[in-house]
Subunit: 412 residues, 2 copies
């Protein structure tokens, strides 16, 4: 598969995070000669927060992790995350449930964790029974290999058909104490019959309570991972996890609105935005990265629906692939959202170039100006609905022949 | 553009319908050397019913016709429909509104109709001011040309980038009296910057009241034109119109549930199904025609949402283009609909071949069987949710490279 034109020249330097160690291994689930298993261990007292796919056919690991997240756990035992690629363990019936239970049970013994301290995520082919023996047999050696430095290797191990590994890091201060946030993600490179599985794992040494972590993660997910779309299809395996070891030496934080957390929250949002944008930039066949800014909606939720209607429209996305400043299709996508909108009040611009204003073509707009702008690889669609204060930004990529190539190929 | 592989060998024979005459003309709105204007006249007493796009950015002709349909009219004057192709008169501000008013005003004088007896529809490029002078100047000659036999020519005149003209006809009895239903439609061949405009016009000589016509048209539209999807994008110009001249010599019908109408309703539904299927078969780049049958949903509306979620999924549609029996993507699309569904109760079949049953791969299914079935050009996806009595059938086409070719081409 061709590497995305947006691939960074190198994986960013992700330093160790105090309180976490990890190992990756090649256990041969599907791929040959590459890692396909990653285990992250948080020290005793680590808190975890997570958000999951809303698909009604979630995979067995999603069901397991949802329950594990909510169950009481022993604060004196470490917490474990086990992630495999190559098989998503989705739609695998009772065998899939047994695979998740056995993975957690063995991880608990090997890493001295305590169930339900074990979180699970899987990505890859669906409908095939996961050979859980390969995973559990790899664990003892992985325990020996555990080290604090391994984020680059981890980002590679969780890839399926991604064309590059995705990582981001940021530093923040809580009070006077510096803390670190690392994140890795995978997603959006697909071949039949894989799903557009999106997984992201974020770790920090900050001391933050579970409820405060969950509040920040859920809120920021709406603005980041839930604000991106490649093709409108929602995976059965999506998961974003945030783990905090509490190793940093600042006062414990329990209120997500505590002003002492504002620098941390900015850093967390930056890491989540960075990772979600990297997923779009590795979207199947993507050649253009598009930010869709909607303002003037009746409320933020309405702005979100308008932005996603534009971002999911095949006609808008093919026009962008063709470098066609086709504002008529943008107007169509706004209208089909069903959200309040009035042609007479609407303004549509490509970057700084206003195309349509008050129900008709802007007199100063020229095809040449639009065509020149469309040749860029980073584009902005700016919509002003003129109705209220609601706003939202979504991100998407164009719809190209490579999307068809990647997804219409017969399974080999 | 390549002609669809589903194009019929010849346009069907649509005989005259008593009480209607018509004319087509080449007035040069956009295309050269082909008709682009069609006028249909119904005799005094003709009733009309119509359904329109739900897009919030409707074109000026849609806004005009919605009002004209509801306004009182003179039963002693003829009723007129004016349709042009090449310019959809959408997002054209005040100039667009003036164009609709002038078209109706001149049609009223030339054809001795009485406003608001004039219905309008336009399809083609959006955002360009319609040169209404070309339309009104063509009308006097068209009046001279009016004849009862012209359905084939009409179906050609309303095309934009359709690859074949679409027509259907049926006969039915009301009491002992034979009546005739003719319909023409256009839609789904698109080039930038056109919309997926879907227009259908149906005429009958039956004597049926406006309210009964509207009731039948609205109900059947849900099962036909609103049950098809090429790419999930909703046009700003969609319109389906049903006109009844009342020329047939049976008792007037005013109750849509009158048993005397059952044969007529069957015939009308057949014509509407036929036309809507022809639109899918001329969908951009379509090489496969797919029926999606959903049963066992909690209700019909839920079944509809599940069916449309499958029919709109780019991953399902690209898999079908690649002749890949990718049932995992069907499961994903069912789940992302958000409708009640339980993996443990779900059955998914391709035609007669059950792929997935009760949360896992069906043991009797083989890849060979699926691959053989997928080579057909007419496919069925059968979903049984196992929850209730709700059912719905939707139709779609595959997503191929030609879809990208057609829609990513820069405007020439």
């Amino acid at each position: 598969m061709k590497t995305s034109p947006f691939a960074p020249s190198a994986f960013p330097d992700l330093p160790p995070i105090a309180g976490f160690d990890m190992a990756s291994a090649a256990c041969g689930i599907k791929y040959k000669d590459r890692d396909d298993l990653w285990i992250l261990r948080g020290q005793a007292g680590t808190h975890m927060a997570a958000v999951f796919t809303r698909n009604r056919m979630p995979g067995a690991p999603v069901t397991w992790s949802k329950r594990a997240l909510l169950a009481p756990f022993n604060p004196d035992a470490p917490r474990i995350l086990v992630v495999n690629s190559g098989n998503s363990n989705v739609f695998t019936g009772e065998a899939g449930k047994r695979a998740t239970a056995l993975t957690a049970e063995v991880a608990e013994k090997v890493f001295a964790a305590e169930a339900p301290a074990v979180m699970l995520a899987s990505t890859g082919v669906i409908g095939e029974v996961l050979d859980v023996g390969k995973i559990v047999r790899a664990m003892p050696d992985m325990r020996t290999d555990m080290k604090s430095d391994g984020w680059n290797q981890a980002a590679q191990a969780i890839m399926t058909t991604d064309t590059y590994a995705k990582g981001a890091t940021a530093e923040a201060k809580i009070g006077d104490v510096p803390v670190r946030i690392n994140g890795i993600a995978k997603g959006s490179g697909m071949i039949a019959p894989d799903m557009a599985t999106m997984l992201a794992f974020i770790a920090t040494d900050a001391r933050i309570s579970q409820s405060a972590l969950q509040s920040m993660l859920s809120g920021f997910t709406q603005l980041t991972f839930n604000a991106i779309t490649v093709d409108s299809d929602t995976s059965t395996s999506d998961m974003v996890l945030l783990a905090a070891s509490g190793a940093a030496d600042h006062a414990p934080m329990t209120d997500p609105h505590d002003p002492a957390l504002s620098d941390f929250k900015n850093a967390l949002l930056r890491v989540m935005l960075n990772l979600s944008h990297q997923i779009i930039k590795d979207g199947e066949g993507a050649r253009k990265f598009i930010a869709i800014n909607v303002n003037g909606a009746v409320n933020d939720d309405s702005a979100r629906k308008v932005a996603m209607s534009i971002g999911n429209s095949p006609l808008v996305k093919t026009a962008i692939a063709g470098e066609d400043a086709n504002w008529g299709r943008i107007v169509m996508a706004i209208g089909k959202s069903g959200e309040p909108a009035d042609p007479e009040l609407l303004t549509v611009a490509l970057g700084p170039h206003v195309l349509a204003r008050k129900g008709q073509l802007a007199p100063e707009y020229t095809e040449e100006r639009g065509a020149e702008y469309m040749r860029r690889d980073h584009l902005e669609i700016n919509v002003e609905l003129g109705l209220g204060q609601g706003s939202f930004t979504a991100w998407t990529c164009d719809l190209t022949h490579d999307y068809i190539n990647i997804n219409a190929d017969y399974r080999s």
